[in-house]
Symmetry: D2
Subunit: 360 residues, 4 copies
């Protein structure tokens, strides 16, 4: 029997991305949906359709969920029934996540795409294929909190793409400092970004984003110690901007390595990275954690965001940085709405199942 | 009587920008136009109109030139008649510039927007309000080459906006190193960039651009020595990308200063910069060389590129950089098709007239 | 002494467009501002600035209002003090307009950009230069309602551009039917349109828009009879879509004329149209109601929306229609946020002042 | 053994679309590639890669062709060897097509995506699933011209989407007249459209496009008579514009039917259309020729162009037209670079193979 999962925040963009990732899944079955009071009691199909106009709020490219999911009754998030549920995907806004996720995690493993619990010392902040060893924190978390389940969090989508590449470098060369300027896609802002602001424009500021990139990157690159992550003393300087691209974050990264490395060595490190993980061939896994381009015109968000179903990080223009000591620089494209969102959560769930964290 | 000018490359984008800057000008009169063989002999109006379809190739926003200019006969660039011409604006492609500009400069002062002569030791590479003292090279140039005229060049549009802000910092705090990631407007690429490449996309590479930013920035920031520019040992690391913005280059800049400065001191330095020059109130001059924004959502290319008719550099988000020593970072927007192109050339011409370099 | 005006809805887009149109105005002085409860009591500068982030909500291109306006205390719309106010600009949402406008109009002439009162029989729906004779309804309105002031409304921005051209045709050739497909700019939707919906896309439906175009066009083209408008039996078929253009509505129009006319005759009718009105040289008036393009590549919204400060309607590609009887077709571009919004309201106010409707 | 095909114009966009459609094809094997002199002699991989910069000119989304195709030597189009070739796809510019296609067709069946031969009386202009009976012209063509092969042409991409829907209406209700305004994607213009022209803009004119829509639509809807097509007396009025959408043509269509039909009847006609053809389940065939949307916000090019791999025509907003007699109107989205281009050509080839037109 498939692992039974609940998706909370199912009517929102993040939740719909999780649903899309779970569509026709070999391991998981969507057994429950939850959302705010407004949707509670309706079928999912009703909950996302405006009754007067017939306008449908299915925000994810591609087909709608299977009829069985469309017909599920949406529960209210606060009173979601957890009996028979093996795993909760919580894809809700920060404020709701702060309150709801502990409710679920008391009883059931909970994967969160939201911010509030990411930086708590006993909560793992993980990217599949990058720092899955951090999941060991889960034991400490259950012990301390006396929970049956746990919370495992995924990082901010902007941190995700960069951290994948940084981990490859940290492992081989060590890292002293990182500078990044991002050009982020619109879908990362959800439906709150008015068209009037971004069409034919660049917005130079994304509230809180640079801070998140800074602190989450360090936690992801940390070593697991005695029930906590020991963060490395890596300095991170981030400038986060929004560009008129639907999906795909483009990031211009410069890294000061601890030991010098040529562009060729960096390329080799990128291409070799994550083979242990991709070898597991989990259903949502990319074949390569990092895809290296030699054509200097790549990566481009429109052309490369969907590579390996949005689950690989595309890197190009690897070259020495003229300013930083042992500096190397490159550009990357990461699909903020795939590996950095719902599909990343599904991939993490697949690993949790594989490694025995569910139904344990 | 007004100063008589010729515009070479008049049918191209750069030339049309010069023409727009000269429209109804109090000091200059467009006395001659030149372009390639294909246009030679036609009136300017004919030269920019497709005879079959009636489609007009006037690329600059705003009105077409005055009827007197529309009626001028376009000459062939190679055989442009220089009698009675006091100043030539050469706005042509690199290859043509290499050959044509010396032809003109032998007899007449020539302002060039093109690349080939920028880095020659006796050729000034100037931004009005930034390093006009470099024009002193002109004497050396005339002496060495035995020319009656001279070539004065303007930098690459991407270098222009950044150099304006760097000069303000260099003067007060000194600079050790500069890192920049640009998101450049489409108009900087002229009409060669296919829509198919850039719509809903970022292009991570602009051939030769990063090198130009690196070397031109250093020359602009140099001190004038014995008939040559003494370049400062500033390291520059540039990553230049193209974004789906019509005009306006957005640049994310981090600077390692020689002496520490708070964001407030940097702001003050920016706001005070260039007052000696703007006080001249030349017709095309901005009122402020740099405009500082305190709203963190600014500057934005669509909203700020046209500030002060595209002649000011808009700066915002001034804050410490976490990685560079004495680091400060900020974003800027510069209008690549105004100060960084034709109107910058017209402003330089105004200064040349003011300072006695023409009809001397 | 200048005419004292109040602007209601001053913090919204429509209200800010009115304020921009009133900036430094020779006839009008902004004496009062009003908005919702949330802004009441704050200065206008405070009301449009987020106190935490410093982010400013000034949505209109170009400079902010003069310091005197920025310093005005914003009143609550419901309790706006009308003493000393000669004219109210009401630029609020439909629901608010339904309630507020009669409050004001009881005492003071009120110009409305909103929908609710447009189709009332004794309320004029006017475009300056097109059907100003409809203002005669105002006398009937005051009589019937026993008001000291009155409501005069402006049409939907999409109807505006087309009605200007239709009036020119109706006057000379008569009209039987009109078919139009629009490609409307984003600014017409205000800040409610998510970027995610429209970037690199066309949205085929704008709720209620087609109906408004249909009924408002007929009222505008009507003749004024005994205290009411006699609508002509013109059939109108509209399809309204949204395109990824910031401002400027492009409309593909086909008209069945009553009497045949060649493209040249239509062009002549367009170019001659409205001379009586433009001759008044009101401060915000275009020089030509309609600008005719002969270049088949025009009009384009980005190139032509700002012609004559956004107050002229640009028309091109005038040619026979192969399907409609006596058919002629053309494309037009109208600036939805200028003539079709705040600046149109200011122009109407200028005419009201000119014609003695204010301070009467 | 698979059917051996040659692709001429392989380095261009249209040719690459054909190649993408042939990738890993169950019936066809790419046995030869041809292009202009410039590419002749190089492997396909070399021909599309700039040797200096490493920049690759593979324009089609998705993966490059299989290694075997990348390694094929590109022949010069004029001297393409036809021995062993069963079918030629000619995807070249008009001028080249005029000369080259008869060269091939003399010996081998040739499918053309180009314009020159479309309107010749004995050349079928076919859309798979719409008017495949027109292929009977091929016998006449071979007889008259004494050719072993033949030319079969596909229509202009804009005509394609509309003709599919019109055929469904014509068959059931008859058609008197059609009016259409298009908003066409950029990819339809290939790489010749400068970004500067279309970003944040609408271009109101596409040279020759309206005429093509008019005449090709009539030929497609014609009945096959004695060795020629008998065109129906349907009047067509087209206005073709370009919008800032990468791919997908959106078309606003109004049709005057011969016999009245309700929106529901039209919907039913659309949904039933083409079942005989889709039942063949050819490899590249859509499952439905037409996909009807009930959500009024659909179809949208970004969301719907890729439905059924770009091979279905998406229709929505079906409603009565207020002007035309027995008028019905709707919007459609067709993928100009799929059914309207290379993949449409592959689908036609599949039908030719199925129906015995190849290797006959």
């Amino acid at each position: 029997m498939k692992i039974q999962v609940a998706v909370v925040g199912a009517t929102g963009i993040a939740g719909q991305q999780v649903l899309a990732g779970l569509d026709n899944h070999p391991t998981f079955e969507v057994a429950a949906l939850a959302a705010s009071e407004r949707s509670a009691g309706k079928s999912f199909a009703e909950a996302i359709t405006d009754p007067d106009s017939g306008i449908k709020r299915w925000y994810v490219a591609g087909a709608e969920p299977a009829p069985a999911v469309m017909a599920l009754a949406v529960q209210e998030a606060r009173t979601l029934k957890l009996d028979g549920i093996d795993l909760v995907f919580a894809a809700v806004e920060s404020e709701a996540a702060r309150e709801l996720e502990p409710l679920y995690a008391r009883r059931v493993p909970t994967i969160s795409t939201a911010r509030p619990h990411r930086m708590e010392p006993d909560v793992p902040l993980v990217i599949p294929g990058v720092n899955l060893d951090h999941l060991a924190l889960v034991r400490e978390q259950k012990r301390r909190r006396g929970w049956q389940g746990f919370i495992a969090t995924l990082p901010n989508c902007t941190a995700t793409g960069m951290a994948i590449t940084l981990k490859a470098l940290e492992a081989q060369f060590g890292i002293d400092a990182v500078m990044v300027t991002t050009m982020q896609g619109i879908s990362g802002a959800g439906r709150d970004l008015p068209a009037l602001d971004i069409v034919e424009n660049i917005i130079p500021y994304i509230p809180r984003e640079e801070e998140r990139v800074r602190i989450e990157t360090r936690k992801i690159l940390g070593r697991i110690g005695e029930g906590a992550i020991i963060e490395p003393p890596i300095r991170v300087s981030a400038t986060c901007t929004r560009a008129g691209v639907i999906s795909g974050h483009t990031e211009s990264v410069s890294v000061a390595l601890k030991t010098p490395a040529s562009p060729e060595e960096v390329m080799a490190a990128f291409e070799a990275f994550g083979a242990d993980f991709t070898r597991l061939r989990l259903p949502t896994s990319p074949r390569h954690m990092i895809t290296v381009h030699r054509d200097p015109m790549r990566p481009q968000p429109r052309l490369d965001r969907d590579a390996e179903d949005g689950m690989t990080t595309s890197v190009g223009r690897i070259r020495p940085d003229e300013v930083l000591p042992n500096g190397v620089k490159y550009l990357l494209v990461t699909h903020n709405a795939a590996m950095g969102a719902g599909k990343g959560a599904v991939l993490l769930a697949e690993y949790l199942a594989h490694a025995g964290y569910l139904r344990a």
